[in-house]
Symmetry: C2
Subunit: 290 residues, 2 copies
């Protein structure tokens, strides 16, 4: 039985002792670890009552601001590097397999179905961009007719869901399938860098930490293929000024790919362009399940 006289030296043991009859051993292990690290953190920083009250209020406000279109606790996890950490634990590097990165808050369950070659930019403004590549299994087999989702921000740094009135519908967003050879190609616009939302508790935290809220320009992808682990990833622009300062720590060297700039003329798919345009190519490789 724990002593009645609890202080900073014996409280941790006393709390953990209460989990003795937890029905699920995983819950018991996670809660035990949580209390150990949480108490160690508190013992190290030795918060005043006012500081602990601020922490309680910060967490409360973080919960309160969440709604169907905003998940501030995911943003908090992202900006503290925890999302990247959880991702790296669950998707360890496999030679030859495309690396995963954070999902971010702007993926949507509903994605407009698109055909290869379609232009998905909708009412977004920006430089036209032709995106093409291929999808293979780690054993080299092309992955035919595999579904993939694409989404990205516009020239002003906003996603369609952040400006639904202006966009009038999905823009810079689509659900495709690779062709019989595992190839894909489509048109959109080149994304730019943008700030994560800064009008809530996470913005307050970033200012307190003396950090900028910017993410370097990127295209989001999720690939799905039978017998393979879902691949959630980005392709980053190496010329972006924030490429080494991603506010959510998502950048990986192997996910950086240069855009090629082209004068007006015939594009790779034969489309006649009367303005300059960019192309970007990436060949994705998925890990086998298990």
């Amino acid at each position: 039985m724990a002593p009645r006289e609890l202080d900073e030296h014996n409280i941790t043991e006393a709390v953990i002792e209460r989990f003795a009859n937890a029905p699920d051993p995983r819950v018991k292990a996670v809660c035990t670890s949580l209390v150990k690290y949480l108490h160690d953190f508190v013992r190290e920083v030795r918060p005043t009552e006012e500081e602990w009250g601020f922490a309680i209020d910060f967490l409360t406000r973080t919960g309160k601001i969440c709604d169907g279109n905003r998940q501030e606790f995911i943003l908090l996890s992202d900006t503290l590097g925890v999302s990247t950490l959880v991702d790296s634990i669950n998707f360890p590097v496999q030679p030859g397999v495309t690396k995963s990165t954070v999902l971010g808050p702007f993926w949507t369950q509903e994605m407009p179905d698109q055909k290869l070659g379609d232009d998905i930019h909708g009412k977004m403004k920006g430089e036209p961009c032709y995106v093409f590549g291929s999808l293979k299994s780690s054993n080299g087999t092309p992955l035919a007719n595999a579904q993939f989702d694409v989404w990205h921000s516009d020239d002003d740094g906003f996603y369609d869901v952040q400006q639904m009135e202006k966009m009038g519908g999905p823009a810079g967003r689509g659900r495709f399938h690779t062709d019989k050879d595992g190839k894909f190609w489509f048109w959109t616009i080149k994304p730019t860098c943008y700030p994560v939302p800064t009008d809530g508790p996470v913005g307050e935290m970033l200012r307190g930490q003396g950090r900028h809220p910017m993410r370097p320009a990127h295209l989001h992808f999720i690939f799905y293929a039978d017998g393979h682990r879902k691949l959630v990833t980005h392709i980053f622009d190496p010329t972006d000024k924030y490429i080494d300062g991603d506010a959510v720590f998502g950048v990986k060297e192997s996910l950086i790919r240069e855009y090629k700039e082209h004068a007006p003329g015939a594009a790779p798919d034969g489309k006649k362009m009367d303005v300059p345009y960019a192309t970007i190519n990436y060949d994705f490789v998925m890990a086998k399940e298990g």
Copy 2:
């Protein structure tokens, strides 16, 4: 500059590096420590994506359920022993000084003013109880005319604020002042044990941890006196079956005090009691400021 290839081994350093320009050194130190312990926790438990998603959802729901009458994050802090830890850090033991303990969620800013000798039980049911004692400074000087707040639960284990309709106003709650000799005395009812609220995320956590939600019976006090540190404390009933299992880890040996049971007759203040009643006596000692 942090490497672009972030994984579980270098992400912590990369996040902490971002705090280099934090304007306030205390914020920088707290955030650095937070990231270190939070990442170590995640590295130890190695959550699946689903588990991390559950954690995000749990925290979101904990924020959502908070309102003017309920603070679920404080309850989470209480039930994980963090409130007691923060209290023990801020109020280290001083010989001869009454120990502090957690505030709990039922103190209210507005307290009905009472005179010494008043009965504060209002519409609460329970055994009549005469509470008396004294307040001194750690140097032995009686603290005259010092304000103190009292609040407690009723025979059913509820505070007045949890049953406002039934109580029709404050009950088991009052603001007094000690007399010219630092003495106090008042009537109320004997409190009983009660469960912390279990209909929210904290209740879900306690069930997952295989724990009961009960607090042993207690009277809450806050004493205020010029030149002294505010004293937030409880007096606990040693006969309560939960005395060694307080769900919020507030019990301290020196805060346990037996009630005396009395047959009907003349009470210590001369009041004629025609039913059995209890008395409890405690002499409180406050620490000098600084």
